[in-house]
């Protein structure tokens, strides 16, 4: 049997004998992606468990078992882990690393050793973040946004968390840089930008956001650190500083960061929909360019987080209008996907189920986003559960659901095994139902005035919190079951073969499954579009030994 990337690797320093050290020092993009996946999903479950304690506390009005200050620290911990350690690195770090080079026919990313360094920088940042749990006066209680002036005055361990966020930002920048150069330099001969798979377009747009927006929040965090240690006065009203400036600088990054999360997820959707409709994607160019458009417009909308913070009415109207514009390229994508399925040969496999489920949840998340982008309603809904429900529908029901879709779609590629279809479907339905039961009541509670980040509430909101609690129980069971099914399939599953989905993109034309160390046996010449189907069959076929077309 031929060797796969599990059997051999290149290392950053020397070539150690022990398998463990080979994993620690590996520069292979597939192994690095897999290690990211292990760490990232571990953090995901930690943050889910943390969120579940919040739900338990909120089961009834009044204090149950968390005191108010601990409650503040717990939701901050949930936010910091989910945002900085899970969802921002998320899809690019895992599938950007594993799949993107395979899709463009490259042997690795442009700077493999930098990639290795970046992974450890991420681990280092994660350790700093976690260390603040047990050092100083406890974990930050500011919320993940660290708004000044409270973050400057609180005596909890905000500095450590800020340093961690800065280090994680550096890792994010270097990943983006690596991917931009890779996509520019290492595409297989003949593959121009409009022959790239759409996931690569998503990663490309994301990488630019990582590169251009992250430094701004990085320096903002540095300024906040200097403020706390030396008192430079920049955000401190006692010295003439302007705390709202912090909000502006923070959201100049953190709003594009939202699109940084969703763009690669849309990329996954654009892979799955044509593969399981057995039909060439509708409007390839519009999907590709709308990714770039979302990345571009995403820079200009940060002000919609500040409608209630003090901003001129003109600015509010402009930011509101610019925010509406984001809905246009997003809408284009959705109509393109629907049009792709029209008259296609739809196969309701697990990845397709996740993708279709996301179409429902993300549309709810997206459209409720448009309502709070309007200045008037936002004054009413800002900082209520409506907003909480909105961004969980968009982030969890959009990004994370598509992450899971990708997890099922590329599972056979990464592991060489196939999971049991029936069980994975049960896991999907548990997740989908649990998710909606968990979050939908919050729209209603928020609309009626339930504020976010409160540890107590009026008795009339009890019913919504209790329904949400039962949703959470179903949802978490679904998550655990899904991972159980996948991990078990990795151990005992049937071999999947190299192209179980009859998909067309290059990552499904590897000589072995799982792939060998340096990917394709030969780099192919790409003179075809990424999703060519004819009567439900892939048009382009390769001789996997020579990577020459044989159709």
């Amino acid at each position: 049997m031929s060797k796969t990337y599990f059997d051999e690797t290149h290392c950053a320093i020397g070539h150690p004998k022990s398998t463990f050290m080979q994993w620690m020092l590996t520069v292979d993009h597939k192994r690095i992606g897999l290690m990211y996946a292990a760490v990232i999903f571990t953090f995901f479950f930690v943050a889910v468990a943390v969120a579940f304690t919040l739900r338990l506390e909120l089961f009834a009005p009044g204090q149950q078992f968390l005191d108010p200050n601990t409650y503040n620290q717990v939701f901050t911990l949930h936010g910091v882990i989910m945002v900085f350690l899970f969802i921002i690195p998320g899809i690019p770090a895992v599938f950007g690393n594993i799949v993107m080079p395979l899709m463009i026919g490259a042997k690795d990313v442009s700077f493999p050793r930098l990639n290795w360094f970046t992974f450890w920088l991420y681990i280092f940042g994660a350790l700093i973040a976690l260390s603040s749990l047990w050092t100083g006066n406890g974990f930050a209680d500011t919320g993940w946004t660290f708004y000044a002036p409270y973050s400057l005055n609180t005596d909890t361990n905000v500095i450590t968390t800020l340093v961690a966020a800065f280090v994680l930002g550096m890792a994010s920048i270097l990943t983006g840089l690596n991917f931009i150069v890779t996509i520019h330099r290492l595409r297989a001969p003949g593959m121009d930008f409009f022959k790239m798979p759409l996931f690569v377009w998503g990663i490309y747009a994301t990488a630019w956001i990582q590169l251009l927006a992250t430094p701004v929040v990085g320096i903002t965090l540095v300024l906040a650190i200097l403020e706390k240690t030396f008192g430079i006065g920049i955000f401190d009203p006692a010295k003439g500083g302007d705390p709202i400036l912090f909000e502006h600088l923070f959201w100049i990054y953190s709003h594009p960061a939202v699109y940084l999360m969703i763009l690669p997820a849309f990329g996954i959707m654009s892979e799955i929909i044509p593969a399981f409709s057995r039909r060439e994607v509708f409007g390839y160019r519009t999907i590709a360019l709308s990714s770039a458009a979302i990345a571009g417009i995403g820079y200009l909308v940060w002000g919609h987080h500040l409608f209630t913070s003090g901003m001129s009415d003109i600015a509010k109207v402009i930011f509101s209008f610019l925010t509406f514009l984001v809905a246009i390229p997003t809408g284009i994508k959705f109509y393109d996907w629907v049009a792709t399925m029209y008259k296609g040969k739809i196969i309701l496999s697990v990845p397709m189920l996740w993708a279709l489920g996301t179409m429902i949840t993300f549309v709810i998340g997206g459209l409720t986003g448009v309502t709070i982008a309007m200045v008037g309603p936002d004054i009413h809904l800002q900082d209520t559960y409506y907003t909480v429900a909105h961004f969980h529908y968009a982030m969890l029901g959009g990004v994370v659901f598509l992450f899971f879709a990708g997890l099922h779609y590329w599972f056979p590629l990464v592991t060489g095994k196939m999971y049991p279809e029936g069980k994975a479907k049960i896991a999907f339905y548990l997740n989908f139902i649990g998710f909606n039961v968990l979050w939908f009541p919050m729209f209603i509670a928020g609309y009626q005035g339930m504020p976010r980040r409160y540890f107590d509430y009026l008795p009339e909101f009890e019913i919504y919190h209790q329904v949400a609690f039962f949703g959470a129980v179903i949802f978490i069971s679904g998550l655990v079951y899904m991972f159980y099914v996948l991990i078990k399939a990795w151990k005992n599953g049937e071999p999947s073969g190299t192209n179980p989905w009859n998909a067309t993109t290059l990552e499904w034309h590897l000589p072995t499954s799982p792939p060998p160390l340096e990917n394709h046996t030969k780099v192919p010449y790409v003179d075809f579009r990424p999703y060519e189907y004819h009567h439900g069959e892939p048009v382009v076929k390769f001789d996997l030994k020579t990577m020459k077309r044989i159709d």
């Binding site: 290149h10 520069v27 490259a106 042997k107 690795d108 990313v109 442009s110 700077f111 493999p112 050793r113 920048i173 840089l177 690596n178 931009i180 150069v181 890779t182 520019h184 330099r185 290492l186 297989a188 001969p189 003949g190 590169l211 251009l212 927006a213 992250t214 430094p215 701004v216 990085g218 320096i219 903002t220 540095v222 300024l223 200097l226 030396f230 008192g231 430079i232 006065g233 920049i234 006692a238 010295k239 003439g240 500083g241 302007d242 400036l245 600088l249 100049i252 030969k522 780099v523 192919p524 010449y525 003179d527 990577m547 020459k548 077309r549």
Partner: protein
């Protein structure tokens, strides 16, 4: 990973051959990557200039007043020192490209010495300011005591120490990079044929001096003329 890289050939359906770009020895890729990294530095300092401009617009008089307290002579000397160091760095790169390794090393050493000179002058400046009671953490830059400066001046000096400090940090990193570069040249890893490291460090140094070219006028020169008396004091 140090094995000799032989570019692969991809053959299209007409039998035409196309050279495949690998990640190994990709000079253009290395250049592009570092330019992108420079872009992140620009965004970072850009955000600080944004903060600076915003507070300048709120407290113009205080800013001019505070600016006039800085030592233009030392700051100006440092600007010249840094500009010359950019020249020596560029000459070193030219020599490297032309195969004059010894000359290139000489120029890198000259750059290092100029960088140290810059840091020395900077240290003298900061010491003087400290002795005049103007430094982060001292009373003059805290609010609510008898030595407190007005808001605008606190913000000016806060940004001054932050930005020149971060710039100085970049100089120190630069010196470290140049020493590393010399080590790589001595080890034969950087040569005329393979000088991407030298190229990128030169690029880095250019950016560091370019940032100073903006820092200098914004902090030292806005109050350098006789304009302070002509502005109505806002306080």
């Amino acid at each position: 990973m140090s094995h000799e890289y032989v570019p692969e050939i991809a053959v299209d359906r007409d039998g035409k051959e196309h050279e495949v770009q690998g990640w190994q020895g990709d000079f253009y890729g290395g250049k592009l990557g570092f330019w992108l990294f420079m872009l992140t530095e620009v965004m970072m300092f850009g955000a600080m200039f944004l903060v600076l401009t915003y507070y300048f617009s709120l407290h113009p008089a205080d800013f001019l007043e505070a600016s006039s307290e800085l030592n233009v002579l030392l700051g100006g000397t440092n600007t010249v020192v840094l500009l010359i160091s950019a020249l020596t760095m560029g000459l070193g790169l030219l020599k490297m490209r032309n195969g004059d390794i010894a000359g290139a090393k000489l120029m890198i050493w000259a750059t290092i010495i100029l960088a140290l000179l810059f840091l020395g002058i900077k240290a003298v400046e900061w010491t003087n300011e400290y002795q005049h009671g103007v430094f982060l953490g001292l009373d003059a830059l805290q609010s609510g005591n008898e030595h407190s400066k007005p808001f605008g001046q606190i913000l000016f000096f806060g940004m001054y120490f932050t930005m020149t400090g971060l710039h100085g940090f970049h100089i120190i990193i630069g010196i470290g990079l140049m020493l590393w570069l010399l080590k790589r040249i001595n080890a034969g890893k950087v040569s005329t044929e393979h000088h991407i490291l030298h190229f990128n460090i030169a690029l880095y140094w250019d950016l560091v001096h370019l940032i100073w070219v903006f820092v200098f006028p914004y902090f030292y020169m806005i109050g350098a003329g006789d304009v302070v008396g002509g502005v109505i004091n806002a306080h």
